[in-house]
């Protein structure tokens, strides 16, 4: 199985952020937090114009040509950013990072565009999931302070864990945040049941999967932290329907709150 490539972040200074469609439309606080944390780590952050979505919704539903059309738009935008000098493309969502890095070459190839497939493969070398990059930076580049004490658990999202093999990095970062107390969660690496259109094609199974995770939350858990806003949306909306008090928060937002000189969150 493919392992995470041994990529060195040395010299990553200019970063292009891939916002993701969920970040753009549903959870803008997540890319906002990502920008601020990356800046705090000394990165010059650009958000390339023209990017939309990675194409994953259509790809996972089997609609290759439609997925390639959308992904091609984002490929163009990200490629331009790299040509303009970005050292890295950062994605604050494990699932979208996986789509771009692992599946884009196959997507474009199946869509009959071998040139785009080759371009995607080259771009993929520069794509980082947010915590993967932050953890790889020398600790002194990202100073992390404290947050108001909270009882947290960390949700390991599937593609990030099993396809990108980014497993330890998020919790390593959280461990550097005073006040964020991450407890063991027996169901941490179980799928949340979102699965894109799975969540509406088989809603009963999807909800049952969320329940299985929520049922075993450690007593007193206040917040579920994760690196994929869509998983967190699934867990939050199910918890809400059950009347549970637990919140969700993207790891970028936790890290943003922990920045020693918080630039004033506009949330």
């Amino acid at each position: 199985m493919s392992e995470a490539p041994d990529r060195r972040p040395d010299g990553v200074e200019r970063v292009a952020l891939f916002v993701t469609c969920v970040g753009e439309l549903v959870e803008p606080d997540v890319p906002v937090a990502a920008v601020r944390v990356l800046r705090a780590a000394g990165c010059d952050v650009d958000v390339p114009e023209g990017q939309t979505c990675c194409g994953q919704p259509a790809w996972n539903s089997g609609f290759t040509a439609d997925a390639a059309r959308v992904a091609g738009t984002s490929l163009d935008a990200l490629e331009r950013a790299v040509a303009d000098g970005a050292d890295a493309v950062v994605v604050p969502a494990g699932s979208c990072a996986t789509m771009i890095r692992l599946y884009w070459p196959q997507l474009f190839s199946l869509a009959g565009d071998e040139a785009a497939s080759a371009r995607a493969r080259a771009l993929g070398e520069r794509v980082w999931e947010l915590t993967e990059l932050l953890d790889a930076l020398p600790d002194d580049r990202l100073g992390l302070g404290s947050v108001a004490p909270c009882a947290a658990v960390y949700h390991q999202s599937c593609h990030m864990l099993r396809e990108l093999h980014v497993a330890e990095q998020p919790e390593a970062l959280l461990a550097r945040v005073d006040g964020c107390d991450v407890a063991e969660w027996a169901a941490a690496d179980q799928c949340c049941g979102f699965g894109g259109t799975f969540s509406v094609k088989l809603p009963e199974a999807s909800v049952a999967m969320a329940d299985e995770k929520l049922d075993v939350l450690p007593d007193g858990t206040e917040v579920i932290v994760g690196a994929d806003a869509s998983c967190l949306m699934q867990l939050r909306t199910r918890a809400g329907a059950r009347g549970m008090q637990v919140r969700t928060e993207h790891i970028a937002q936790v890290l943003e709150r922990a920045l020693p000189d918080d630039g004033g969150a506009d949330t």
Partner: protein
């Protein structure tokens, strides 16, 4: 020996369908290894695979982990061990395979008052005890290997309530690879790697021994 159906058509269909699959996905298959690797068991770390005495503790631990019981004896099976075994399991009737080790042990049991007969399926189906010997013991998995050709039957080790298997220590090997690999025709009609007693977990995952075969497997390793 006979063949039914159309072999050529069956195989032609397969041949006609086979080309190299397109693939191109993010998880491409690896090439076949030049040498098929053996499973490397951690319990065999640092153990001389050719020294049965070094393999013995590994074998005993693995067999016990598989719910078998094991005694290790010198030279021949002591009378008091046999008497204790007969008493513990209330053994009144026994059948033996035709291997000399099994027949000899049967003789000792008969002397202890057990009704011992050579294998017959009706007798065996009602018997308390089966006595066989093993062609191999597999240290890594705690298995014993019983051959129909040397035992004289496939089911002698299966039908009675308890299976007593004699394993001369020189027949201990490290892993199943030492038994399975290199097998050639002619093969015994039936060869079985027995790892613990018969079991099922089909009802609520509760481990229950003695589903269809023996409820207990007792291995006597003879040094």
């Amino acid at each position: 020996m006979s063949e039914h159906g159309d072999r050529a058509a069956f195989l032609d269909r397969i041949r006609s369908r086979q080309g190299r699959p397109a693939g191109g996905g993010p998880h491409p298959p690896p090439p076949a290894p030049d040498v098929v690797p053996e499973l490397a068991y951690r319990t065999l770390d640092g153990v001389d695979h050719d020294d049965p005495f070094a393999l013995l503790p590994v074998f005993v631990a693995a067999a016990r982990a598989a719910e078998a019981t094991v005694d290790v004896v010198d030279d021949e099976v002591p009378a008091e061990l046999l008497l204790r075994f007969v008493g513990d399991h209330d053994v009144r009737t026994a059948v033996t395979s035709r291997e000399p080790e099994a027949v000899a042990l049967g003789g000792a049991l008969a002397a202890a008052g057990v009704s011992v007969a050579p294998y017959d399926r009706e007798v065996a189906a009602a018997a308390d005890l089966a006595i066989t010997s093993a062609t191999h013991g597999i240290a890594a998995t705690g298995s014993v290997v019983v051959d129909s050709a040397s035992a004289g039957s496939r089911a002698v080790s299966l039908l009675p309530k308890i299976h007593l298997c004699v394993l001369p220590i020189t027949r201990l090997v490290a892993s199943h690879a030492d038994v399975l690999r290199g097998q050639q025709r002619p093969m015994p009609s039936g060869r079985v790697l027995i790892t613990g007693p018969s079991r099922t977990g089909d009802i609520e995952q509760r481990l229950t021994l003695g589903a269809h075969g023996p409820v207990a497997l007792h291995i006597v390793v003879v040094r």
